[in-house]
């Protein structure tokens, strides 16, 4: 009855998911761990899962007879191979983003899953599990009338020095790319990027902020401000404008203070606090589906479409002001 999970990659997110399974969620336990650095896996074993077996190779963990399902939390470049191995083994697999480092790699996963004939992969797009986005989607479907525009912002207080312009797409905007496809039930047909002057806090290899304009197949226009040196906080904004009205993503829960001539609520500064509850929910959802031998939630197709869209957005960065077309391949019936 208890789902036996193997975790590949025991860095920050792999450790955190292990803690979640062992101490927070119902219905699963971690029975196997693996990491490029075996000592890291052993440390997580010691701290959180003393009954788990540590494997040197992820492939062996996937093959282990007592492993029912796999979490892929290793470095991005290894995702594709592990996910393909899990599909080959017929085991449900939760894969942290990115599903693969290239659109072609993600497509190979899609093709393998389709060939197998059933869903086995859930991609770690946790925002779809955030209570705010879930409520926003319901509001868009029942109260605003059909959507026409989305105004969004993704702001970080600062980023490290190695963060360069294309990472604003692959590491930051990718969350909006997935969540808006899901929110609108629509696909993208073009992307355009506009750069205002670069903020003083940025550096030579990062044009920040930028505004990405996506257009969907149904004609919805989505403008998103990406500003990763905004200084004041980690702030995710989203407003959907429909035929009848407008719905806006809630601010995170905060105490309202009257203090020092100011009526104020705190804004988060650490991205890890923003969607913390949605990690629990996405993984509980995975446990439930995997216990039945399948997967729900964000699909390989979603991971592939995110990769395709990211590529178009980076091309749009490189030809500022030009609309880059996004081609949508035919969606396999498995993801209908």
């Amino acid at each position: 009855m208890t789902l036996k999970i193997g975790v590949i990659g025991t860095g920050m997110i792999g450790r955190d998911h292990t803690r979640r399974i062992q101490q927070v969620l119902a219905g699963a336990e971690v029975v196997a761990l693996s990491d490029y650095t075996p000592e890291a896996a052993r440390a997580v074993q010691a701290d959180l899962a003393p009954g788990a077996t540590v494997y040197e190779r992820g492939e062996d963990l996937i093959a282990a007879a007592d492993v029912d399902a796999v979490l892929v939390c290793s470095t991005g470049s290894t995702h594709e191979a592990y996910v393909l191995a899990a599909i080959a083994a017929g085991k449900p697999c939760f894969c942290e983003k990115p599903l693969a480092t290239t659109a072609e790699g993600a497509r190979r996963i899609v093709d393998a899953e389709v060939a197998g004939g059933k869903r086995l992969v859930q991609v770690g797009f946790m925002r779809r599990y955030d209570a705010g986005y879930v409520a926003l989607k319901q509001a868009v479907e029942t109260r605003t009338g059909a959507p026409i525009m989305v105004h969004a912002a993704h702001r970080n207080p600062t980023v490290p020095e190695q963060y360069v312009t294309p990472m604003a797409i692959h590491d930051t905007f990718v969350h909006e790319i997935d969540v808006f496809r899901w929110l609108l039930g629509d696909d993208y047909v073009s992307a355009r990027v506009t750069f205002p002057r670069t903020c003083a806090a940025s550096h030579a290899k990062l044009r920040d902020p930028q505004i990405v304009t996506l257009t969907t197949a149904r004609g919805v226009v989505i403008t998103t401000e990406i500003y990763v040196n905004c200084q004041y906080g980690y702030d995710i904004q989203c407003e959907v404008v429909g035929e009848e009205g407008i719905a806006r993503l809630p601010e995170p829960m905060a105490i309202q203070m009257r203090l020092n001539a100011s009526l104020q609520t705190a804004i988060l500064t650490d991205w890890k606090d923003r969607f913390v509850a949605s990690y629990d929910t996405e993984l509980q959802d995975f446990i439930k589906a995997a216990s039945a031998g399948t997967a729900t939630g964000p699909t390989s197709w979603d991971g592939y479409m995110a990769a395709v869209t990211c590529d178009a957005c980076v091309a749009a960065q490189e030809s500022e002001g030009t609309a880059i077309a996004i081609t949508n391949p035919e969606r396999p019936a498995l993801y209908a």
Copy 2:
């Protein structure tokens, strides 16, 4: 066609009303000035009303043939005599609060005005002209259902050393006393005061904060927090709870800022900024009515009832926790 106004008392408020009449409002001009310190009157004359005559005695100003209407802005103890003189002269008179320093004095004004048979006096309860309170009254009359409770707060950042406990009634709470009578269209029947522990910022002669509970003839219970050392700002709160819903006084207009990990709007710190627009409106209303030889707005009766209620509240402070009854004399037909 232009109303000719004489201003008695040229301190802060008298000077400000003179500026208002000369530079902001339509339909009036200041033709006469008077002050206990004649140089003060002459300074206002020089700065704002070069055409005005300066009188040594307020009585002479009231009697002057070219004075159509009078503003009484002198020190509180002189109000009663000047207002009675204006009534005797048949001239419309705007009197800053208090109408008189005792309930008996206010009653004498009521009796004189009633004897004259027409309204001539407007008391300077400016909150009735505040756009927020006006909208609140409309909401209470049309949307909340009949009122049952009011929760209010009157907070100052600090008060000067000479501010002692009864002044919390006479100088501070008197504004709520008047505006809630008007808001509810009701009269008070009892007052009770509760003192929490005194805040650290207060002093030996001031018990601060305090909670005053007023009950009305229709059974509405009004609880008001008076807190004049609240530190954080000048803040006026009012929420009316009715049979169907609740209406709340708006916060003053302020820019919403995202700054330093905080979503914030400014709170005022100076009481003079809070109802600044309502001074314009109350005086324009006086000018309009006085031009027709009468007065509208807050009446002598309102000033008298405020004085009666203040006396009950001070008695309630002195017998903490006890409900003090408030007797409502019969209302003369002039104020029906």
Copy 3:
């Protein structure tokens, strides 16, 4: 390693806690069920815990060798006996409110637990686990300065016909009684009740709304509006006024809508939705402590003090306007 729990009482809350343990929380399973109506226990067994044993008598469930810890979710009048039996058996026990139907009964539980020398009982005051109240407590302890006043409201849209005046204390206000003691770290010394006119939606045996004023040992004054026919929603408000500033409980998360000439967010209407997440948290906390053979969270002493305060508030209802003193017995060292 997995805590084995027996659930006594399988009505709405007992069933819900069973679901929570089986499907949501980590580290526990339900191995035993009991109910006054055995079919009810068997239905929960069938739906949620097929491996559990059904007992006819709660006492037998408590005594069962494989039961590590007990949840008392039966009707209130049976709580005292079951909790005493769990203490006698040395088993951790989570008891839904009320701990007992009388202050004397609650005192007997306190005495038994103290005699045993260690904490075994957690009372189901779930608000202490609500993320909003937790954040409010932190704000009061770190940002507002020492508290002086609390303004609160507890509003239900409607109540059933059998809900009569004292139930506003025992069933409704009891939540504020406990959570404010915890929030302030203080004890009550008096209670007073003020009744405005009764709202039109009420009935002959229910004076609604009412305002309860509690005073604490440190001189904090707490005014709470209880209004159980407010029509518009289920609404819990709490504002703490301190030496330096004010902190306010957040509104529940809601989508901001612009629709039909109105900027709006939804207000809940069902009390079951308001603190839903805190039930998970309180029970996870119980599982963690019980796995170590003890209890944390709200104590028997808290349950006893709530009962004592409820009695004073009902007496205050019966002598409207009079302050009823609340005597605080010496607190046993176990609850220091």
Copy 4:
């Protein structure tokens, strides 16, 4: 001492300005009226300014010896000639927007005013006098750090059938064009228009909504949603994103209601209510400057730059997705 004003055009806005001068503002009176339909001028005379002279021709009103200053409130196509006549007569002139119906016409006014060597013209861009925008400008100059982006929206519930696509620029967006130039103290260098799918409530000749992207000389990017069939209300939004933080235009003052399971404030539906106070302020400012023989506030140059920018935006509508360059002629010293 009283400024004598002649009003040309006594339609809705001319009548309203006449009322304002006669009944609300200090320091001026209407002594002359003129309208294409003389009966309209006579009706305003009868209702509001019995002492005024009615002229058949605006040119005669401008020439009248007792007219100190002129208000041009007639139909747009007549503005240029009247303003040029007022400049020729050396009389201060307040001109409702548009200053002229073409950029060339506006340029002729600029040239005439420059040739005269002193400011005489104020254009009726009233938003600059709105308390919200004034506070926003102050926040941008003192608190947000240098601006980088502006996100704005201009929404009407509906528009009449004759409102076609270019009117979204000339009649609607022109307000943002002027107010953002003033807010940022910057000039535009390009305009681009993006059209989402057209909303169901629109008609064949109106592509609605649309998003206009303006770029300034300093590299600020301004995205404005124009949506004139938004159904829910008249709603003006503006958020300025700077180096350090974000400032947002306040919502109009409104009572907060708790009603029908909704926490709500009213949104305006009639554009005439949104900036009503700023009409008073702009005209008081004109009276003050005109009394000194000159003009302040929005200049002829501002009117000209608005016309130039409107032309670029309409060109951008016609070549959707293409950035249209905006050339800024050298600014005459008179407008430095």
